[in-house]
Amino acid sequence: MTLLDSTLGRRGLVAAGLLASPLAQSQPANAVNFIGWSAAVDQVRAQITAFQAATGIAVNYENFPFAQYRTALVTRLVANAPIDVSWISDAWLPEFAEAGWLADISDVPALMRYNAEAAQYCTQSMVYNGKQYGLSYYGDHMSFMVNTDMLARAGITTPPTTWEEVVEQSLRMKAQGIAEFPLLLSLAADTWLIEFVSALTFSFGGRFVDDAGASVMADPARGAVRAARFLREAIHTHRILSPGAVETGEINGLRAFGSGAHAFAIVPTYRIRALNDPAQSSAAGKIRLALMPKGGPNGTHDTCGWIRFYGMTPGAKADRARRERTLRFMEFFGGRDTSGNYSMQKLLLTDMGLPSCALPLAQDPDVVRFWDRWAGGGAVVAQQAGLARKKDTISPWFGEWVETSNQAWQTVCLGRAEPEAAMRAAGTKWTELRRAFR
């Protein structure tokens, strides 16, 4: 028996950290232990209060910043911390499912019935190897947004429908002194980068891997290389995109776009509320959605979509009482509450702008009013949501591969590598990790 096989082993690696965990220290009996990242905290607390009032079940709620969330959650799961339910990103589903940290809910009719009322790509994003592992928290996609005021000043009446038109209109704006860098993309090597470059790649008609899971990202005809070349030319040839994009994180990009200094941007759809809110944005009322421009000969209006969901741990599922409490929690938060309303989903949309996977909400008068007020109508959002595709790179090795991928895209943006070479490096890493996983 090795030292690692002993009870110390890997659990010992993280046990010290867990001693400080509120979940480990104070656990009211009969409570649901829920972990999320530090987003929509007020809304979650409000819903927890409503849940406790409706069911009498207490909730221990703990949250971490998103940037550290995966590591924090993994260390707790490895150490068998008493977690019942947590927020999970679709990108982590395969590795978490393979590790045995998520419980399959396919045998829970009370939760599975919500699939009939959910957008198809949302449900698909929670399925791995034919089993469903959760109920949605929210589902969103990357949107192409335009500053209508700047377009009007440049005499442009129709937003661009292709990336070639984006370049042409940007150059016009540059020549007229309207904006130094009309296009804004947040390309910092953080957790958002893969969503941005996936959206761009899909719009160039491309993909990273084929249906069998083999890398095609280095294939010049499959879009990723074309998208990478577009970025490099936007920065170095046309100079319509700032070289500082490589150090612009999503939140800073949002602020920059809200300042009114840029005409075009790719932004998560839920940010439309903040961008058109006069209290948060100088460009309020001027930001509108357009379909993702097509790029190259095989271009599409497709974009990258993602979902976050409530996942139950196998430990919670195995214990009858915990399972009962957790399922009620998941339904109350990810489905309908005890009054039969999608209260959490609606709260997240109207308060935060987070789009819901629940289709019935689209007809809700408050939701219709929300999109009318903040986006000038919900037609484009609905059309773009229908063209959203989940990241094709989601796999058990995604977490490791994405580090190499981020570096490859940044190297292209810096002009330090040819798009083909950078994508080849990312592809080689993909193949190596895929092979190692078998």
Binding site: L13, T71, V78, E247, P396, E403, T411, C413, L414
Partner: protein
Amino acid sequence: MRLGYDERSAALLVAPVLGVLLVVAAFPIVYSFWVSLHDIVLTRPLRRPFVGFDNYLRIFDDARFWTAVSRTTVYTLVCVVATTLLAVLVALLLNEVFPGQRLLSALLLVPWATPSVVNGLMWKWIYDPTYGLLNGLLVQVGLLERYRVWLSDPDITLLLIANAAIWKQMPLAALLMIVTMKAIPEDLYRAARVDGANVWQRFVHVTLPALRPGLMLVLVYETMISIRHFDLFLIMTQGGPGDASLTLSWLIYVETFRSLRFGTGAAMSYILAITTFALSWAVIRFLGKRI
């Protein structure tokens, strides 16, 4: 051999400290080495094979590792050389008596007293492409036509981070130098003056040889600190843009806490620790002989 009363008392008194050291220092060192011999990936909890030194071999075969070695070497050299030179110059200045010398000595300690995270944030703001002090200053004095995106330029990223590190580390080094200088007997300078030595000759033949103990301390300390620097990279660039600031410490962080590969992360940590130890030993051995 029977221990006497004194020896037994001493052993008893030392035992608690020794026990604590074993738990907090010796055990983690041995355990992390054991971890480095396994292929441990946290997201694959059902497998943890013993791989011997395969992790080390895999690291040496990884292009990223050699990029990190190269970046770490450049960064360490710049930091150590610049910090030491500046520290000697500042120490020479503050060793003189002039009005405001005490105030200047006190002000010198401000960067050193600044927490590392604050230092990183401060310099990140100074370099900011939209509201940064550096851009504002250079544009106002006419040295720059328009605001520049400093940290996104891979040619200078490492130097900009090194600048932030030097700003923080130099005061302590200067302080050590001043203390060493104060210990130089005034008689040596008087004798040199009698022999007709000018300022430069007095510096080269009296001050510099006497500075060796302090110099050795500064070189060892700065090398150990710079080679393992992490906080500035986390705050300012996260190893980017691209791999422009991919140092060994950052690579270890990525491997261990992002990729969650504890086996290779531990192996890289061992390589870094051994390198740091070897460099320190070399400096001590090289300069120690001349003291």
